[in-house]
């Protein structure tokens, strides 16, 4: 029997060297990807997975796994099976993108124009 410093474990009288049985299919629930929103209106961030039998319980678990610390406004859960992704083998699609700086928005100096306008208004 396992003897632990924690009396709550010892009194369960768990056998040592439990034989580990191989998992059968459907032994574990399917996974849901969890997305966490910090403040209402913010983007949801992917934070991890939960195992659950249905969306309702995925939300139930997701709230405690990922919403128990700091600020949370909302949680999304999506079945992992419903998430579609590119193949990493096709990564060469993205290779030349960093070179295309003409596509970046850094040249759009809108804040400068706004501040210039505001300043002009003040002196009127």
């Amino acid at each position: 029997m396992i003897k632990s410093l924690d009396p709550r474990i010892t009194r369960e009288q768990i056998e040592e060297n439990n034989s580990i049985e191989p998992l059968t299919p459907m032994d574990n629930w399917e996974t849901y990807e969890v997305f966490h929103q910090k403040k209402r209106g913010d983007q949801h961030m992917h934070v991890g997975i939960v195992h659950a039998p249905n969306p309702e319980m995925a939300l139930l678990f997701g709230k405690e796994q990922y919403g128990r610390r700091n600020i949370t406004a909302n949680i999304w859960v999506v079945k992992t099976a419903n998430v579609f992704a590119c193949e990493y083998d096709d990564a060469d699609m993205f290779e030349t993108t960093p070179e295309k700086q003409y596509r970046e928005a850094g040249g759009y100096k809108v804040m400068e124009k706004i501040n210039k306008y505001k300043k002009a208004q003040k002196t009127v």
Partner: protein
């Protein structure tokens, strides 16, 4: 407003929360699946935090510091209902107790959000938000398991049967019921019990379970008057063990 009546109310609520919080924390590391272990432990933490908020109100009414009150009393000084000190049993009993107690607790705090004693109303408004999740969690599990396999349904029904009279014991009335009702502090145990019965009935039905028939009801009273089962003393000893090693230590 009768301060003895108010303190008695606060003590019984705080003790309920502290004792069930501790019992539920005994599942940490032993829960059926990871996500559920985390959720149940998290809720146990919530409950202990809620008891601390109430002990703090008691401190403002002249009682000792929350830590002292929580960890230096003996079992025969606790006012929790006996229901909450019972051992965890299997997860079926713990879930059923979680359902029966948490629904009652949420209703109690809903009522207290309108209490004439403003500090308590303020605490109640905060706590009832947390309890929304606790009740959602309990309802979901009870309904799922009640409608699950033959085994899950049988276990939940047995747990309900075993828990029932102890659960009724949560509504043991105090000699100050009329004071509390008249002064607007609390609507009283009878009103709470009625609301509780109305609230759990549709969920029990949805779970395909049955409440024991009313001619068999026999509420287990005594906890509010500090009469407890043999299970409370070992719980209090274990819960207080670390604190009592050095009560003056800074944490």
């Amino acid at each position: 407003m009768n301060s003895i009546a108010l303190k008695e109310l606060l003590y019984k609520m705080a003790d309920d929360l502290l004792i069930i919080g501790h019992r539920n924390s005994e599942w940490t590391g032993l829960g059926p699946i990871l996500e559920e272990d985390i959720a149940f432990s998290s809720m146990a933490q919530d409950k202990i935090g809620q008891s601390q908020a109430l002990f703090q109100l008691l401190h403002e009414l002249g009682e000792q510091e929350p830590d002292t009150v929580a960890f230096t009393r003996n079992a025969n000084q606790f006012h929790n209902a006996q229901f909450l000190e019972l051992p965890n049993g299997d997860y079926d009993f713990s879930l059923m107790r979680h359902f029966l107690y948490d629904v009652a607790d949420q209703l109690r705090f809903e009522f207290l959000a309108n209490s004439s004693y403003e500090p308590l109303a303020k605490v109640a408004r905060k706590i009832k938000g947390e309890l929304k999740y606790h009740v959602f969690h309990a309802n979901t599990w009870v309904v799922k398991l009640g409608n699950g396999t033959e085994e899950s349904k049988a276990r939940m029904q047995t747990a309900l049967n075993e828990a029932w009279n102890y659960a009724l014991g949560m509504f043991e009335t105090s000699e100050f019921e009329n004071d509390l009702i008249a002064s607007g502090v609390f609507v009283g145990e009878e009103a709470l019990k009625k609301q509780w019965l109305d609230t759990i009935a549709p969920i029990i039905e949805k779970a395909s379970l049955q409440i024991p028939s009313s001619n068999t009801w026999a509420p287990v009273f005594g906890g509010r008057k500090c009469k407890h089962t043999e299970h409370l003393a070992p719980l209090v000893d274990e819960m207080s063990e670390v604190f009592r090693v050095d009560p003056s230590a800074e944490w």
